[in-house]
């Protein structure tokens, strides 16, 4: 393991010394993930991105450290606090949004519903293997005709004797093609319910989506459920209605609001280094006021984003974080990260369009991040509703 740069003191990356808001344990978890990303992700990710691939064995390596379902308790999960989970997401996404997405989906979207709404048997059966990375999970909510409006889903689960039979199509499902188990949300007579679907069940197929120009180091798939027959105990007993999937999304969005800061930070760092080295018109481009303004705005956005994240993380840990506050963080931090990545790309000039530098990879990835888990517009409407009391969704 090579040692990696650790922040501390007045580094340009931690201008506000946000480090001082973290305790030793949180810093050690953060440093461990940073090191893992430095060893395992950064040397390979350009290659993965180019070939549209994420190695499956990464799951076990991440499981061994405790990254999968890390903020859940018991069943082989590490049981860290929420701030630590967030910091891990920041470091993972400083590597690549695709790698962070893998962890978000596994922990917050696939494991969390089983942990929160599953029966004891379901938890025992699935969670330890998912925590260790032996079992890969995915989360099927979005459909071809139901994105921002998941309540409009058409996938249906009907009773047949004791069994459930599910028909429908899910779209844009992260990890779909490599998953061993899918948590699928479907309409039932009682309302929307969650089902644990082993992906080798007859009638289940996953078709990977190709030709993506964003989040390429991540598998995105269509799930087709054609008369998928499941035993009665496949349904998650603990929740009925949209609040089931939405509470999972809240967990994942919490990770994303931290994660996006990582992508922004990595872009900013690349631009800062580049600007100090690249000489044009006889001087480093960092010496021009236009460039300095860009760099300063990036630095401010990254630091502000981290400060916001840690604040929301503390609220999560003391149980006072609201869904609207998560929307605030997801909306703002992802948009800022995308702006940082775009500015960074401009500073790198022609080099900025290659995979030799991380910037355009982050920039393109963030187009997915700003879309999934509630688009920027949807979070804006959530906040609009919160401050005016008037819903403007339809």
């Amino acid at each position: 393991m090579s040692s990696t740069i650790r922040p501390g003191g007045e580094t340009p990356n931690d201008f506000l010394q946000i480090d001082s808001l973290l305790d030793d344990e949180e810093r050690l978890i953060r440093d461990t993930v940073r090191e893992f990303v430095g060893d395992r992700v950064l040397p390979n990710v350009a290659e993965w991105f180019e070939s549209g691939y994420l190695p499956k064995e990464l799951a076990r390596e991440m499981g061994a450290i405790g990254l999968l379902g890390m903020h859940l308790d018991g069943y082989g999960c590490a049981g860290t606090n929420a701030v630590s989970y967030g910091l891990a997401c920041t470091e993972l996404e400083a590597g690549d949004s695709g790698v962070r997405s893998f962890v978000s989906v596994q922990g917050s979207l696939a494991m969390y519903p089983i942990w929160a709404f599953g029966s004891e048997e379901q938890k025992q059966q699935w969670l330890p293997g998912m925590a260790s990375g032996e079992i890969i999970g995915c989360f099927g909510l979005t459909e071809p005709d139901a994105g921002s409006d998941p309540g409009a889903m058409r996938t249906r689960a009907r009773r047949d004797g004791d069994d459930w039979v599910i028909d429908g199509t899910k779209m844009w499902i992260t990890n779909g093609g490599i998953a061993d188990v899918a948590v699928v949300w479907a309409q039932t007579d009682e309302g929307i319910r969650g089902f644990i679907v082993p992906t080798d069940t007859p009638g289940f197929t996953a078709n990977d989506i190709h030709h993506k120009l964003s989040l390429r180091a991540s598998i995105t798939s269509e799930l087709v459920l054609d008369g998928v027959r499941l035993p009665a105990d496949a349904a998650l007993p603990g929740v009925v209605g949209l609040k089931g999937p939405l509470s999972c999304l809240n967990e994942a969005r919490f990770g994303i609001l931290f994660g996006a800061v990582g992508a922004g930070r990595a872009s900013y760092e690349a631009a800062l280094t580049y600007a100090k080295e690249r000489v044009q018109f006889g001087h480093p481009i960092a010496s021009y006021q236009l460039t300095q303004r860009k760099l300063v705005e990036m630095m401010v956005k990254v630091n502000k984003g981290m400060l916001l994240s840690v604040h929301l993380g503390r609220k999560h840990d003391d149980g006072t974080l609201t869904a609207e506050q998560i929307s605030f963080g997801k909306m703002e931090n992802v948009r800022d990260a995308l702006e940082v990545a775009r500015e960074a790309r401009s500073i790198l000039g022609a080099n900025g369009i290659t995979l030799d530098y991380p910037v355009i990879r982050h920039m393109n990835n963030l187009e997915s991040v700003i879309t999934y888990e509630g688009t920027n517009e949807v979070h804006t409407l959530v906040l609009g509703h919160a401050i005016t009391g008037i819903p403007a969704f339809n």
């Binding site: 740069i5 344990e25 978890i29 090191e35 450290i65 590490a78 630590s84």
Partner: protein, 258 residues
């Protein structure tokens, strides 16, 4: 097997640190990290302990500070730590460091002592051998591969041209090279348990040393002056006019690499 692993907390090599202009000692920040080279020792210790249902105890002489470096090693899985932290130790040289560590290790009891070959900040590379001598056990140094034998330890000892196979009965001391094993990442569970693991803090007196037996008073070594590293001079540029390779060969011969 009771395994003692020597680990050094050092200032983070990634952030520049200062030498005191008068004493020439490293100004040690509160947050020190685990010396990277000692991670290999910890990993070897953990693997041997796992195979023998043994224990791993860390030994470190340094101002404790936030104990961040020690926690890193505990988070990897070590069972406990013994720290010798004492103002009287300030200015100790390598031999005193070895005496203090040896006394702490003997007090605790051991079957095997593990150290790095050379620390990142001090790099005298003498502490392991001195400890072996002081606790009177054979030393197996520069191990690039470690194997347990019946009642002993066998290593591949790194040499300039390859390796020697060296074997000794236990108790013994082992110094390991970087690359002997792939150190594990601390696990999150380990990180959270590290807080609860016992850390004993001892003074030099606890180990039977009086104030004049340690620290600057006892140092046989003094640092007389410290110079900044000279700025690198611009290298020589060889223009290739088709015969550039000849000039390069001549240069390489001049510095006796070929």
């Amino acid at each position: 097997m009771r395994i003692a692993v020597c680990v050094k907390q050092i200032p983070d090599p990634a952030t520049p640190y200062d030498l005191d202009p008068v004493t020439h000692r490293v100004v040690r920040p509160n947050d020190q990290v685990l010396d990277d080279t000692d991670r290999f020792g910890v990993e070897v210790g953990l693997q041997l302990a796992e195979a023998s249902e043994g224990t791993v105890t860390l030994f470190s002489m340094s101002p404790s500070g936030s104990l961040q470096g020690i926690r890193q090693a505990l988070a990897m899985g070590a069972d406990k730590a013994v720290i010798i932290d004492d103002e009287n130790l300030a200015g100790s040289d390598a031999l005193t460091t070895s005496r203090v560590l040896a006394a702490a290790i003997e007090r605790e009891g051991f079957d095997l002592v593990i150290a790095g070959t050379e620390s990142t900040d001090g790099y005298t590379g003498v502490v392991p051998q001195q400890i072996a001598e002081l606790v009177d056990v054979p030393s197996l140094t520069f191990a690039r591969k470690v194997e347990v034998t019946d009642g002993g330890i066998r290593i591949e000892q790194q040499t300039a041209g390859g390796y020697d196979v060296v074997e000794a009965p236990l108790p013994a001391l082992l110094s390991v090279t970087s690359g002997v094993v792939e150190p594990r990442y601390p696990t999150f569970k380990g990180i959270m348990q590290a807080k609860k693991k016992p850390i004993d803090t001892l003074t030099a007196e606890d180990l039977g040393f009086s104030a004049d037996q340690v620290g600057e008073a006892a140092a046989g070594q003094t640092i007389t002056s410290v110079e900044p590293i000279p700025a690198r001079e611009a290298g020589e540029i060889v223009e290739d006019d088709g015969e550039g390779y000849l000039k390069i060969v001549a240069l390489l011969e001049q510095v006796k690499v070929i």
